[in-house]
Symmetry: C2
Subunit: 355 residues, 2 copies
Amino acid sequence: MPRLRYNGSSHFLQTDMSRKPRIRSGSGVTMHDVAKAAGVSAITVSRALNQPQQVSPHLRDKVQQAVDALGYVPSRSASALASARSRTVLVLIPSLGNTVFLDTLAGIESILAPAGYQMLIGNSHYDAEQELQLLRAYLQHRPDGLLLTGLSHAAPFDALLRQHALPAVYMMDLADDGRCCVGFSQEEAGAAITRHLLSRGKRRIGFLGAQLDERVLKRLAGYRATLAEAGLHDPSLEWLDPSPSSMQMGADMLDAALRARPDCDALFCCNDDLAIGALARCQQLGVAVPQRLAVAGFNDLQPATWCIPSLTTVATPRREIGVQAARALLNMMDGGMPDAPRVDLGFELMLRRSS
Amino acid sequence: MPRLRYNGSSHFLQTDMSRKPRIRSGSGVTMHDVAKAAGVSAITVSRALNQPQQVSPHLRDKVQQAVDALGYVPSRSASALASARSRTVLVLIPSLGNTVFLDTLAGIESILAPAGYQMLIGNSHYDAEQELQLLRAYLQHRPDGLLLTGLSHAAPFDALLRQHALPAVYMMDLADDGRCCVGFSQEEAGAAITRHLLSRGKRRIGFLGAQLDERVLKRLAGYRATLAEAGLHDPSLEWLDPSPSSMQMGADMLDAALRARPDCDALFCCNDDLAIGALARCQQLGVAVPQRLAVAGFNDLQPATWCIPSLTTVATPRREIGVQAARALLNMMDGGMPDAPRVDLGFELMLRRSS
DNA sequence: GCTGTTTATGTTAGCGCTAACAAAAGTTGA
DNA sequence: TCAACTTTTGTTAGCGCTAACATAAACAGC
């Protein structure tokens, strides 16, 4: 390829004044404008805003006055580009419609916001492939860290994390492979609620499962193990549907369950939505809860206290999971290793009238 | 101030090799690396990725191969800085715990994501001051546009929008001042449900209100106007509480209402949460719904179909609001004016058993 | 063939900020 | 008083990308 010649043959110092100035975005006030107004250099403005203790009080005040007078808002893009730190954390959750994850988000925000980090929220809709796409898309923002829901992700996921050297904390569940995770044992929780139903004298305990994500399957595993141990496991008492859970689905599943197994005397629903739909249907059908049929849910959402009868369920420390996961991530982003790579926050059985 | 002298006195062409190289963030693959690998210039890579039709198929393929081989992920910060466009939209909503806004978000995303925009979600917790802080914080990202909930914001809000020349679309309600808005008349909806209760022969119609945000107050205004017109407005039938709504609060308010006005024969609750809490309490107390007391809610959330008795409420086009608001904003960000600055999407009365 | 137009590709500079280093000013201790 | 620090402030270059313009090549019309 022949080397191209240019008519400009511009020298280093020759500024081409014929160029059109670019349109500035934002209010157009830059750090240099602030510096000029305050009579200092740009780096002093940068320091006054980011490391105030490094700047003398006198200059700090002058800078602050100039910032206020001009309405200066620093540019995150420029800062990220220059410092190679975006001060941004990517949070990937499976659903925004589920209170569980909203509570977790609130916990995360309560830690990250004061630390100067902003959250990018990605909603994977319980789909590993979509989650991978989200990660790819959000990597363009060069997040400094990652908060993930669950342990199993699409195949290239971990490779991407390694390639980009991204610290990540896994939430909601517990891994055994050294990954940093904050959560509780989904399996153990499923076992605990099943043991409770057994302790109530129930013997033909069914399972209603929707979505069938990783966590639901672990609760199911806990349920199966417990019943198997008691010699009571019966696969024909399990009703599973991979579509997203809803109260409607809980009602429909209850119908199906009672039709197939009228002798079923308890139901562990994989979440409160299903359980509340099932309870409402029991009311309509005149099925006595808990006498003829005990019902248990999972998560302890607000309606669990308010449905009739009130719902026995598993309270999960979801806000605290967010808080501790965010703290661990902050720690890792500062270059430290987490104190404990595996934080088990446990769960609590909420025993109410439905059992 | 004396001019400082430096020992370096570096010339243009003299590269100071003693400097430490900076640590690269991300995977460290830049557009130049891709360009080198593909045997083209950087700008060709940029164009191949952003305006593929401007690049010949042959080079486009070579670039794509290099991108895949190196695992290149473009940097949004650098792109935003160079182009003065962040391809980011800031969405400010009052609450993440309210399904209403989640549905709106989903609608927004369905339009913005395919257009290459990413959302920044700010949760103001129904607080105008916090909303202003969020705007300030997120302005650092230089969003290209803004989607706002409601019409009234903190005082410096509009000034900031003007200063930064930010296109904005207001959602959920209808303004008369030329601002671009997509929603429905909250006032008219409040009036419509009140008229419905009147048509059912109710005469002492109460109002339960929580949160008391802008939209609740407009629904209240519609309720008042309708009753006043019928000569039935009675301020002692209004129970208002500025704290966030919940089912618990609905139950408590029902107690208070029946205690103060046992003759009350209908209740318009400002949202479904309150209504469902009130309904549950009626069940517990043995209050016949709708015979002795009719109950109506607002929003038509999922549980409205499932509570007992099912809840009469107002279905709001919240997803469609998000969709159309996002479309209008895209239009404005492209420099165009919205076709109609004011889009009224209406609402629908869902008449069920509770009335 | 020659000119005017369109298409494909390239060079340069600069977006707004901060890391790295340099220098000046202040402070300490003998 | 002066060397040795520490603190404060400043200069330079460059982060990774794209706008603006330049050039070359391909094509059109005569």
